[in-house]
């Protein structure tokens, strides 16, 4: 499938519910309130599609892409702290890459899991849970995988407010 076919299929299926679709060269504004206006202007490389969706239809969009369009491979899931919100972006597909971007509130970081659709997403969700503290509802085994044993609770190293303290050496030697 080409980039344009994917974006057309998504637009036909979900219409105005999708906030923004970007394919190579130029972005396209679908709904009025875009999430990230400053990203809008830049051009996108070949074989890349960026879709921004609200949290309510996030799982429906993934289900449509995986089950009907056949993008059943999760390349990665990026989590990103924008200050007030946390962005979660699964990158789907083996040939062209479709990035489904959604934004959740930092005070209540809860999102439904996609592990039931693609079992390979399990480790990616656990990684985001470790590093950013997003809780994936319905994940079968949301335990720690990246941060070491004994890591304190509620400390998330990729959040912007995390500033590691500089330690003092045990003894000055020079």
């Amino acid at each position: 499938m080409e980039e344009n076919e994917v974006s057309e299929a998504l637009k036909n299926k979900f219409g105005k519910k999708i906030l923004e679709i970007k394919v190579s060269k130029k972005g396209e504004k679908v709904a009025e309130d875009m999430l990230i206006p400053e990203i809008m202007e830049i051009k996108v490389s070949k074989r890349r599609v960026f879709v921004t969706v609200p949290i309510e239809i996030y799982k429906e969009v993934i289900r449509y892409l995986v089950e009907e369009l056949g993008f059943n491979h999760v390349q990665a899931m990026t989590g990103l702290d924008t200050g007030k919100f946390i962005e979660v972006m699964p990158h789907l597909g083996r040939g062209i890459t479709i990035t489904v971007r959604t934004r959740i509130e930092k005070d209540r970081p809860v999102l439904s899991t996609i592990t039931d659709l693609v079992p390979g997403a399990s480790f990616h969700e656990r990684e985001i849970h470790d590093l950013l503290g997003v809780v994936f509802e319905g994940h079968p085994n949301l335990t720690r995988v990246i941060v070491p044993e004994g890591w304190p609770e509620n400390v998330y190293p990729l959040r912007k407010e995390y500033h590691p303290e500089q330690p003092k050496p045990i003894r000055e030697v020079f």
């Binding site: 059943n72 491979h73 399990s122 304190p152 303290e165 500089q166 330690p167 045990i170 003894r171």
Partner: protein
């Protein structure tokens, strides 16, 4: 006979007969720390739990505090063996942010060094696999011949392992005509030796006995669990980033995507040997068709606001980097997803007995090694004070102070 039946019924009813064996972090098969908890029923492995948290270095966070030039050297140190793939992926991501193309000669050199690194990685793996199955003669021979490609990489880039050849906007060194001749000679030696190893793998009873029918991963499961790279291709799925999402010059340079359909460790051995032979041909093509011209363009330090996804077929599988820039000299977020991380669910699947085949404890080392795992790929060096719930990172000076203290 009666006893056996009794045992069977007991096994079904008595949960206590399952036994958990901890393997790691000091590992029999791997030189890197990873912890596996195997649930066994006699000699059968019926479940596995993976913990890879021993090597978390916080590189993703550290990348946000450095500028784009400094990050090349940090990215390179994510993984020693795949360093070419990592720097290539990083350079491509930043070039995508800039929206610039690099000169054609630079692309040829990038592709050539990438394929040389693939030869080096696959031959290294072949040696490790031979060692795991107790075939140390093959291990010694393969690593002796690997020196040919290591010397070529040193000649071309200046370093044996951490090559530092790729940079933002091109490559750092040009290739002379004299060097081209030496690479050609080296490729002839390697091709002859690799064909011999292929013959050994196909005919030797040791390899056959230890690898055939071990670590089965069915194509349906491989796709479901998002396997990548040689692990996926050994299950008969024709997928390669170089073909499906061509970068550098992979849409021009001819090559075959190697697949095997026996789905076991044996297939993974043969896929890697045949891929190495393909790489030899690709290096030859690059040497013959390399155009003249510049090898680097200069780009400003700060790319414009934007985001980019860069994909590379590393020796171990698909590698993906995601970059988001905010217009300053430091990236807003940089995400690295390494192939081993993607293959972890698949290796758990390979190590669990099914109704139609069994996994024995003795098969664990070679099955683990068959995905070519690399656990140092994900992230931070730091010190924790558990009682206070605080974490910190040492500066270089403090680390030196600590090291010299412990040396005394």
């Amino acid at each position: 006979m009666q006893e056996e039946e009794l045992q069977k019924t007991e096994k079904k009813s008595a949960y206590e007969l399952f036994f958990d064996i901890p393997v790691g972090p000091q590992h029999p098969a791997l030189k890197e720390p990873a912890f596996f908890k195997f649930r066994v029923e006699g000699e059968r492995v019926v479940g596995v739990d993976v913990d890879v948290s021993y090597n978390h270095r916080g590189i993703e966070r550290a990348l946000e505090d450095r500028n784009y030039i400094q990050n090349i050297y940090l990215i390179e140190r994510i993984c020693g063996i795949c360093n070419v793939a990592h720097t290539l992926c990083y350079a491509q991501a930043v070039e995508q942010l800039h929206g610039k193309e690099i000169p054609s000669r630079a692309n040829y050199i990038r592709l050539m060094v990438e394929e040389l690194a693939r030869i080096h990685s696959h031959t290294l793996w072949l040696g490790v696999a031979a060692h795991e199955i107790g075939f140390d003669t093959l291990f010694m021979y393969v690593w002796r011949d690997r020196e040919v490609v290591m010397d070529l990489i040193e000649m071309l880039t200046g370093n044996r392992v951490t090559t530092a050849i790729n940079t933002i906007g091109g490559v750092r060194r040009d290739v002379s005509d004299e060097a081209k001749d030496k690479v050609k000679k080296g490729m002839n030696i390697l091709e002859e030796r690799l064909k011999y190893y292929r013959k050994v793998a196909l005919n030797d009873p040791t390899v056959n006995a230890r690898c055939s029918g071990v670590g089965i991963l069915k194509p349906k499961d491989a796709i479901r669990l998002c396997a990548v790279g040689p692990t996926l291709r050994a299950s008969g799925v024709k997928n390669d980033v170089r073909r499906d999402d061509p970068y550098t010059l992979h849409d021009e340079v001819p090559f075959n995507v190697i697949t095997f359909d026996t789905m076991d460790v044996f297939a993974r051995v043969l896929v890697r040997i045949d891929e190495t032979l393909e790489s030899v041909n690709m290096v030859r093509y690059c040497l013959d068709h390399m155009p003249n011209g510049d090898v680097r363009i200069k780009l400003p330090l700060s790319p414009p606001v934007g985001e980019a996804i860069s994909r590379v077929e590393a020796p171990r599988g698909e590698l993906i980097h995601y970059a988001r820039s905010n217009g300053t000299k430091n990236p807003e977020r940089y995400k690295v997803r390494t192939p081993t991380f993607e293959n972890l669910p698949s290796v758990s699947e390979m190590l669990t007995s099914k109704s139609d085949y069994e996994v024995n404890i003795a098969d664990i080392p070679i099955t683990l090694a068959s995905i070519d795992p690399c656990f140092s790929c994900t992230a931070r060096m730091e010190f924790r004070d558990v009682s206070k719930g605080k974490t910190w990172i040492w500066s270089l000076k403090e680390l030196k102070a600590h090291c010299s203290k412990s040396r005394r």
